[in-house]
Subunit: 198 residues, 2 copies
């Protein structure tokens, strides 16, 4: 398992730095400091490695659980914003999402994020926190897509230094179309400080 | 000027197909069918070529002008959605935006889009169409960032076949946080058919 982890970390570094197309198995193998045979034992191809990086990227997150599932969703996206500044695995995951395609499972780079948001939005709906017209699954897809754009924009603008502020802006713009009036007045788009550490 | 245009179209095709990093000047020159000297007379480097593609991509658009500048903004984004399905210049522009960085002018791939949206949002505010808390410039930045994510998601999901529908969803989610109640009831997030052709 140490070899597998070393290869994944090397892959995240190389893909995060060079981009998916320019990353080569040779450079990943060299950086991991393991034998070529050991790498191919765990991952048959760069595609297999990319899928493993994608599966790995959501692992460190434990979405908060409180009385307000919509506030939990806000806090979670701020946790992810902080991780995007420093975690090579999630940084590589975003490059894979925008630079390559998986024709058999096209949404694989996004799916785990959609599932997390859809669960929180569904529970928020059951709590009466959503406007009646909002469909939790569709809203989760929209939110993940929009968040991807916001973090790419922040990467271009400030190497993600302003990402927490842009995530707050994203919520300010979208909460009026998501939250019931009763929920809206209690929600903090900045996230609750105690829940935003990773 | 024919040489310049041929080189730009070749660059758009090669960057749109291979991505920015993997695109080479050699392949662009070969596809353009012109001499190396002619290319370098117009564009000193791949970076210069990328900037020219970015400048070129907004040219075909004539944003509509009607009594409702917010409806004009909606219609404009639907025009862009249709162009994203077929126009190599704008497709290449999105790949350049997400795959490279311009350290001297980091927002250059986004700026023309932001300017167009900011103008329409500012005029919408002057017409009383925006909620008082909305700052047109910040809203334009948010909207362009979010739109980038939505079109990337649609590219992954359906090669942009569902992009018009996803742009409609984007507006449904964001109009309640943008538009004054009086304006909201008159706006069509699907865009007005007559204004959505390109």
């Amino acid at each position: 398992m140490r070899t597998r982890r070393a290869v994944l970390e090397a892959a995240a570094h190389v893909i995060g730095t060079r981009g998916y197309e320019a990353a080569t198995m040779a450079e990943i193998i060299q950086r991991a400091g393991v034998t070529k045979g050991a790498v191919y034992f765990h991952f048959r191809s760069k595609d297999a490695l990319a899928r493993a990086v994608i599966r790995e990227q959501t692992d460190p997150f434990v979405p908060p659980v409180s009385d307000s599932r919509l506030q939990d969703a806000i806090d979670f996206t701020h946790q992810v914003a902080l991780a995007l500044r420093s975690d090579p695995m999630i940084q590589a995951g975003t490059r894979i999402a925008v630079e390559t395609t998986f024709s058999d499972e096209p949404l694989v780079p996004y799916q785990a994020w959609i599932d997390i948001m859809a669960t929180m939005f569904t529970e928020a709906r059951d709590n009466g926190e959503l406007l009646p017209a909002v469909a939790p699954d569709r809203a989760a897809e929209f939110f993940v897509a929009s968040y991807m754009g916001v973090q790419l924009f922040s990467r271009a603008a400030t190497n993600r230094a302003d990402l927490p502020e842009r995530v707050t802006t994203l919520w300010k713009h979208t909460l009026p179309g998501l939250a019931s009036p009763g929920a809206l007045s209690h929600l903090d788009p900045h996230g609750r400080p105690a829940h935003v550490t990773v």
